[in-house]
């Protein structure tokens, strides 16, 4: 675990999208913090607000229709939400960097990858172009690109998906950020390449002592790469704790069901999977009370009326948003 120095502190963040059909509460009161050297995984299904949370932290929510309606995002003690757009630009790619799911669309197809890394370096360091190019090749080497001097003059389409993601990481690391946000960084990649990229991210994290916000839907990745986990459902964090706590003794029925619904490679063939009935709620009109109650097998009348708060369950780092509180006991 990290040194305890808090890099990112998000408090009661809420981001709404104003669509013709109504107001979508994509992020609705999310709080978490990440210390130096720690990886927090934000887990959830599509539409749960995990990407919107990441974009809100970087203030990249498309506006309109998106709007950060309340909350605070502090990076190293500095409030990001009150910065001007120009100041924010120097934060993005500076102290906080982000990599995306699809590296092909994030790279500009008409420039060589070397030129794009040089651009990223020069945006934050007043270096001359030759120096920046040397630095770029060093960075490409660092992210594990073989013969980086030659690859630097390739165009993005000449590289494989894994290599492109490495280039994205090189660009993100150009200014030695304190916070790296990785939004589904390996979803578009093959499983063997995914393992390489995850290894790369964690070794770079160790070297630069970064805080990492890892956004994913895959509990396998969480198990492998995360120190702490926050599970999101319908715009809210429903459970948060250390990776071991959440994965091994989930306290929220949703977390529990999500983990059990995914087949595990070590389980024998034909193992029955637990399925969660229904589909994620429409955030235009989320259900009253606990947002998970329509799909929850343990829902009581109380769950339909009262919205539960996040409360400590078991240890003091483990919190869950369930009316049953810490009282949820599982047989195993």
């Amino acid at each position: 675990m990290g040194s305890g120095e808090c890099v990112l502190d998000v408090r009661d963040l809420a981001t709404y999208f104003f669509t013709p059909r109504g107001c979508v509460r994509a992020v609705d009161g999310v709080s978490f913090s990440i210390e130096r050297g720690v990886t927090l995984a934000l887990v959830g299904e599509s539409g749960c607000g995990k990407s919107a949370t990441a974009l809100s932290v970087m203030r990249l929510v498309p506006s309109p229709p998106g709007l950060i309606v309340r909350g605070s995002v502090k990076l190293d003690g500095r409030e990001l939400l009150s910065l001007s757009e120009a100041e924010m630009c120097s934060v993005r790619g500076g102290d906080a960097a982000m990599i995306f799911q699809e590296p092909m669309t994030s790279l500009n197809p008409v420039y060589t990858v070397g030129a794009q890394v040089v651009e990223a370096i020069m945006a934050h360091h007043a270096a001359d172009r030759r120096k920046a190019r040397e630095l770029a090749i060093e960075l490409l080497h660092k992210v594990g690109i073989p013969s980086p001097a030659q690859r630097a003059s390739d165009y993005p389409h000449q590289l494989s998906g894994g290599m492109r993601q490495r280039v994205m990481i090189a660009m993100a690391l150009a200014a030695r950020p304190k916070l790296l946000i990785a939004d589904e960084p390996t979803t578009a990649l093959d499983v063997t390449v995914q393992a390489q990229i995850l290894d790369l991210i964690s070794s770079l994290q160790e070297e630069l002592n970064m805080a990492v916000l890892l956004i994913t839907h895959d509990f396998g990745i969480v198990r492998q790469a995360a120190d702490r986990v926050a599970v999101m459902y319908a715009g809210q964090i429903v459970e948060q704790g250390s990776a071991g706590e959440v994965l091994n003794s989930p306290k929220h029925p949703y977390t529990r069901a999500l983990i059990d619904s995914v087949p595990v490679v070590d389980a024998p063939s034909g193992t029955r999977l637990v399925s969660i009935d229904g589909a994620a709620p429409n955030l235009l009109d989320p259900p009253a009370g606990c947002r998970f109650h329509p799909r929850c097998s343990r829902a009581s009348a109380r769950c339909r009326e009262f919205e539960p708060e996040l409360a400590a369950v078991g240890s003091d780092t483990h919190i869950a948003r369930c009316a049953a509180g810490g009282g949820l006991r599982y047989d195993c």
């Binding site: 709404y16 104003f18 013709p20 109504g22 107001c23 929510v61 498309p62 506006s63 309109p64 709007l67």
Partner: protein, 323 residues
């Protein structure tokens, strides 16, 4: 019907429908609406009369009532426009689907034919054909169709190529469906919005082209059309006499009709392809956002009326914060 209703909700759809319906009604009921017989030359010896009582839009050099000519002229413009639009749509769609879905030499032959039509200069060919085939208005329809199907075919073909690679076509093939079944069941319905919208816009374009051909004196000499009225105004030295009422009414009629068709066409496009973000929906969203940012609105009141879902486009600026 549903489509018309949804078009009516859009301002441009309403304008388009109103104008189109009005022009059609005028054309259909021309004999009832026209105060005089426009073919009746030398009416009561009233040549070159200014607009006024009796002749609201004046008379031309032969004494024909301009208003009556204008009303009858709607018939030719509409018939030529609609018939050509229909013919171009049918021929172009058929050729486009055949070329796009069949591929191979069929595709090559059809596309090379399109290329030939594209590189041939249109206007001289039209004039040439008009001279050979005669200038009866149905011949004009044939000429416009021959020159017009290629653009439609090309557009439909490119759409077919993208639809063809979709999984539902593979699904249909995997159940043993024949080529003709797939073209009719899947390809045609997929290209139909493009087909209808472009058919309507094509009709508008043909109306302008027909006016142009008539203006040059290659229109049907026996029928009154708005283009021919302009031609007569030109040959009768309207500007020399300062006879604006010879020029303005037919010009305005062409403009308004084509404008109406275009508006209807664009509205149709918006209704049939709901993925195009709606501008007014965005502005309503912006208003709601500003209200929210000012602390006046609540999420419940922020619900904006409007049917179609808008995309989440827009500029990538930082969000406005209330703090």
């Amino acid at each position: 019907m549903n489509v018309l209703k949804r078009m009516w909700r859009l301002p441009r759809g309403r304008i388009g429908i109103c104008i189109t319906v009005a022009v059609v009604l005028v054309a259909v009921f021309a004999p009832l609406l026209a105060p005089y017989n426009p073919y009746d030359i030398d009416q009561r010896d009233a040549r070159r009369m200014r607009p006024g009582r009796g002749h609201w839009l004046g008379t031309d050099a032969f004494g024909n009532d301009i208003l009556s000519k204008l009303i009858y002229g709607a018939r030719v413009s509409l018939i030529v426009g609609l018939c050509t639009g229909l013919a171009v749509t049918v021929v172009g769609t058929f050729m486009g689907i055949l070329a796009g879905y069949t591929g191979g030499w069929v595709d090559t032959v059809i596309m090379r034919a399109c290329d030939v039509i594209f590189v041939v200069p249109g206007l001289p060919l039209m004039i040439l054909l008009a001279n050979y085939l005669g200038t009866k208005f149905y011949m004009i329809i044939v000429i416009f169709t021959v020159l017009g199907w290629a653009g439609m075919a090309r557009m439909i073909r490119s759409q077919v190529l993208s639809v063809r690679s979709r999984d539902f076509v593979a699904a249909s093939r995997s159940i043993g469906a024949s080529k003709w079944h797939i073209m009719a069941e899947h390809i045609l319905v997929s290209v139909s919005p493009l087909m209808i919208v472009n058919g309507v816009l094509n009709a508008a374009g043909v109306m302008v082209a027909e006016a142009g051909l008539s203006f040059l004196g290659f229109g049907d000499p026996t029928a009154i059309s708005w283009g021919k009225m302009l031609f007569e105004a030109q040959s009768g030295h309207a500007l020399l006499f300062g006879a604006w009422w010879w020029v303005v009414p037919p010009g305005l009629a062409i403009f308004v009709t084509v404008f109406g068709f275009m508006m209807a066409g664009y509205a149709l496009e918006e209704v049939l392809n709901p993925h195009i973000p709606r501008r007014q929906a965005f502005s309503a969203m912006r208003r709601q956002m500003r209200k929210f940012a000012a602390g006046r609105g609540t999420c419940a009141t922020a619900a904006v009326a409007g049917g179609a879902a808008a995309g989440t486009g827009g500029s990538r600026q930082g969000g406005v914060t209330r703090g």
